[in-house]
Assembly symmetry: C2
Homo-oligomer: 350 residues x 2
């Protein structure tokens, strides 16, 4: 008794063909819904497949056809809801098109990312969607995946210069415009001392968001104090821990544009700990609009990127590329929308 697992013998096309007294080719045609097969034969074959519990072996078919029905998806941080939603969107859109997602998670480690890519590429996916670990070098990625499958990079640029001929598509958020919009709104609300809080300054998204922040301040004629840009790891925990850095500045800020929602939520806790009242005497904005943003205390003003939709978009871009490898590579930058909630009060009289 093997507990219901028929490890020993798998049912193949041959078994069905033999049982029906037809050739393998005929069974194959039935599977592929070819109109060439006589209706009676088709019915007999289909009944037999059901009876024997036949399961199509797509790997074998793909090998013969020299095609692939898988796409590799490598995610830097599944525990961040932004990326988890993105992954769900990718999987959803791929499923609709008959593709299966090969998942890999790098946990923000470039070494693990290399390893994961190397392992996934051996399954010869039709393409790769990579949400890169921080500081992923383009040469590293090329070494891991070669040039066999089209690559779509999400969210963060790869560092370094690609070797000639190594190309990839990019899907990202309009970080600069988003941060600029948030900062402008704070200015409209009367804030004049506004900090940029959190994120690693050397990550491409943080750099871009800082630029947007500076754009808005510049346009308002407010000089930029480099000390008002505070670096933290982009996590709730770190953002919480470093909140006091905001008040080490001579004239303390009344508002902070945060690198992302995780940082903003962490900062709000830190502010509360320090006796401040975010949403009352201090304004905070985030980035991403993760589900918790709307439900925080106070609800967080943030920039919506709809990660699930971005996932679907990434899947579609990649499949388009796989179908037309010679077309020019694209860099798609998605606008983000300012969603105002209670975390951004008017500036108070000092």
């Amino acid at each position: 008794m093997d507990g219901g697992l028929e490890k020993s013998r798998r049912i193949t096309l041959n078994d069905i063909a033999r049982a029906c007294g037809v050739s393998r080719a005929t069974v194959s045609l039935v599977l592929r819904r070819s109109p060439l097969v006589h209706a009676d034969t088709r019915r007999r074959v289909e009944a037999e497949m059901l009876r024997q519990g036949y399961v199509y072996n797509r790997a074998a078919a793909n090998l013969r056809q020299r095609v692939s029905t898988t796409v590799a998806l490598v995610i830097n941080d599944l525990s961040n809801p932004f990326f988890a939603e993105f992954a769900a969107g990718v999987d959803e859109a791929l499923g609709v098109k008959g593709y299966v997602t090969l998942l890999g998670s790098s946990n923000e480690s470039p070494a693990r990312q290399r390893q994961v890519l190397g392992s996934l590429i051996e399954h010869h996916p039709a393409g790769i969607i990579l949400s890169p670990a921080e500081n992923s070098d383009v040469a590293d990625v090329e070494l891991a995946i070669g040039r066999h499958a089209p690559l779509l990079v999400f969210n963060r640029k790869l560092t370094g210069t690609p070797a000639p001929g190594f190309e990839y598509d990019f899907l990202g958020l309009d970080n600069r415009a988003g941060a600029r919009a948030a900062t402008k709104r704070l200015l409209e609300l009367g804030h004049r001392r506004i900090a940029f809080y959190g994120g690693h300054a050397d990550s491409s998204s943080c750099r871009e968001r800082r630029l947007g922040y500076q754009d808005a301040l510049g346009e308002a004629g407010i000089p930029i104090d480099p000390r008002s840009m505070i670096e933290t790891a982009p996590t709730r925990l770190e953002a919480n821990a470093h909140a006091d850095a905001l008040f080490a500045i001579d004239a303390a800020p009344t508002a902070a544009v945060c690198y992302n929602d995780a940082v903003a939520l962490g900062l709000m806790l830190g502010l509360t700990r320090l006796g401040r009242h975010p949403g009352v005497d201090f304004a905070v904005t985030g980035f991403d609009d993760i589900p918790e943003a709307a439900l925080g205390v106070p609800p967080l003003t943030t920039l919506s990127a709809d990660p699930r939709a971005r996932g679907r978009q990434a899947a579609e871009l990649l499949l388009q590329r796989a179908a037309a490898p010679s077309l020019l590579r694209r860099s798609v930058v998605v606008p983000v929308l300012l969603t105002e909630r209670e975390s951004t009060p008017h500036a108070l009289r000092a």
Copy 2:
């Protein structure tokens, strides 16, 4: 110019063999690190593989060897951090053992789950890890996957009775003991009117948690008022919306054991909206210990299940099963730990 994608011709073992003047078999032995191959030959072959950018085709190898190096992972709700962490843990442990994760997400839809399972099974995974959508029927699952791959079900039982011979392993949390521990603790803190809040009463995990809650009340000699068990969808939003149901009861409760953290966080918001102060004049407990639990306002007393560790555990259980299909099926129930935080104050004098 094809943009660096060599869609046309893939490098195979044959190309390497020809270039080195050896047979395919020899190259294959080099790949598999056989000591039979002369060191010089090995070096020549390895150099040639690097030069031509050879990528091993694991699907072809698996086909020939009649083995599988993939595992299917089907998740009901990736946007819930509990399941996202679980998925990350599964992927991590599988990666270590050289397996690749085939991802599928059902978004809590049994229909989509059927479809996803049907598609994944065609890739002949070595096994399937299923975190089922609510109300997944065991017969449905069997229909989709047959009996070809071992199945590990996580977190929720399947509904219905399995057909004779259809068996699966189960990994779940000790829901009953967990809810009992939380309720007991509230009793120790002096609470006497305690509600059970949230969740769908017909889900196995909710049923079990309600039983644990009733166990504790029963042991304390407190009669159970069925109206003190309030049903909501297990989401933050719904939990928030129905908070007032707690105060429709004659003698309003001073504490609520919540179905899970999402519900508890939602309820705390709802309480605040109603002018209550969770953590001060009302006690709330959760279940899961998602990252937000510790960072909520107030931080949430909850039951820790360490979903990432559960993911690793699920992967290991499944691979054990795949190696020993005939062993008796197992049902592993993991204890959960009460983690006390500020959301559970002593009962106040009414």
